[in-house]
Amino acid sequence: MGAPEFLFLLQGLKWTVLLSAIGFVGGGIVGLLVALARTSGQPLLERGTAAYIALFQGTPLLMQLFVVYYGLALVGLELESWQAVAIGFTANSSAFLGDIWRGSIEAVPKGQTEAAKALSLSYVSRMRDVILPQAIQISLPATVGFLVQLIKGTSLASIVGFTELARAGNIVSNQTFKPLLVYAVIGVMYFALCWPLSLLGSWLERRIAAPTR
């Protein structure tokens, strides 16, 4: 395996990182809306988002990517593979992040909402100034944990023909006939991405578990 192959793998790594970032940012924005709707106290919104979460958590990501890529093409919406993958990952992440953040919002003591209401703060201010800052702190370990899962999950993008790290490895391995070496390199690359995040996650967890702020 020479420099060109290695560079090819680095290209794959770049897409893995980008894909994770898209999934995380897109999923984060939609996920926040999902979490807010899920805790809104409006029965229709709550039931709708509960179904959304159940649907995306209850079916394999692989299937969701297939549906977006091939399913939408069937109804005439032809997407580039990267577009399909971005949509698929955003939808999937938003369901998981939405559920994590719903739990965190609900974990903020009820007295906080009551005090904010008694001060006549609007819904927007209650959420932005009082509830979300506390909920985000509570959710950090689980959120980082999800990010690690997301990074590893991006390997599924290869099935719709997207050349991220895992698929790049597959290609190089087929060309060089050195699967062990190639997959060892890929493994190290995934590890280098995920391990620091795992450390960050457990550090955050310890910090939150500590009795004083």
Binding site: E114, K117, A118, S122, D129, Q134
Partner: protein, 253 residues
């Protein structure tokens, strides 16, 4: 605090209020009038509906029947009426409910800035004034977790005062405190009463009631059973439930 303008209409009126939690009948035909400047102590056994009653005044709980008017605003369930009432009604909780991620000063400036539209300098000036008033000015930069329970509750009082409310509601403000901290909070409340604040206090601190209350209201099972001046109520309670209740309170103290 500017003296309340002399107005004859009551600040709070509750007329024929009924409240259910699901099947459970929590308030039964409650009628109350609170005049401007009046101090009321609400007492009664656990589960009698005291918290429910005062939480209806600022619509933390909705009622199913009856009429509630606060400072001339009729509390229907419209957001506009609810917001308007909450701007004029301060509330202090048993468990303080300070915002733990904000400093004492930020706790006090948030609502005036967001709701009253003060700028930061104005809000901080107001906050410092009221923090001084509850004698905790030097703690402004600390976080709630760094304060004792009594200090936290005084911050909570200052936070409510920063909205310059027309009435303050207290729901057992000293029940969660260690005994040695009860006095500092009661003294703060007594000071507030002296300055003419209208107050509705749920408390079992009978010394406070004697000293401050214009009227004691006794509830049991969601009903108001007795209303009297504190001297009359403590010396000569009329209702048998009130006698039993006072007997138990005195036995405890």
């Amino acid at each position: 605090m500017p003296a309340q303008p002399e107005r004859a209409d009551p600040l709070i009126t509750m007329e024929g209020v009924d409240k259910w939690y699901g099947e459970f009948h929590a308030l039964r035909g409650v009628n109350i009038e609170v005049r401007r400047g009046e101090k009321i102590v609400l007492c009664g056994p656990s589960g009698s509906g005291k918290s429910t009653l005062i939480r209806c005044i600022n619509h933390l709980e909705a009622v199913q029947k009856g009429r509630i008017v606060v400072d001339g605003i009729s509390l229907d369930d419209s957001a506009r009426a609810v917001d308007a009432v909450r701007r004029e009604v301060g509330m202090v909780f048993q468990s303080f409910n300070l915002f733990p991620h904000m400093t004492v000063l930020q706790n006090c400036t948030l609502a005036p800035m967001r709701v009253r539209g003060l700028n930061q300098a104005e809000a901080e000036a107001t906050a410092r004034k009221y923090l001084e008033r509850v004698r905790i000015g030097e703690q402004a930069a600390k976080y709630p977790a760094q304060l004792s329970g009594g200090q936290q509750q005084r911050v909570a009082i200052a936070r409510a005062l920063c909205m310059e409310p027309k009435v303050m509601l207290f729901d057992e403000p000293t029940s969660a405190l260690d005994p040695e901290m009860v006095k500092e909070v009661l003294d703060t409340m007594i000071g507030l009463a002296r300055d003419g604040m209208t107050m509705v206090c749920v408390t079992h601190e009978m010394g406070f009631a004697r000293q401050v209350a214009d009227r004691v209201i006794f509830m049991a099972d969601g009903e108001i059973l007795e209303e009297a001046a504190p001297e009359t109520f403590f010396k000569n309670p009329q209702h048998p439930r009130a006698r039993t209740f006072l007997g138990e309170i005195l036995a405890h103290h």
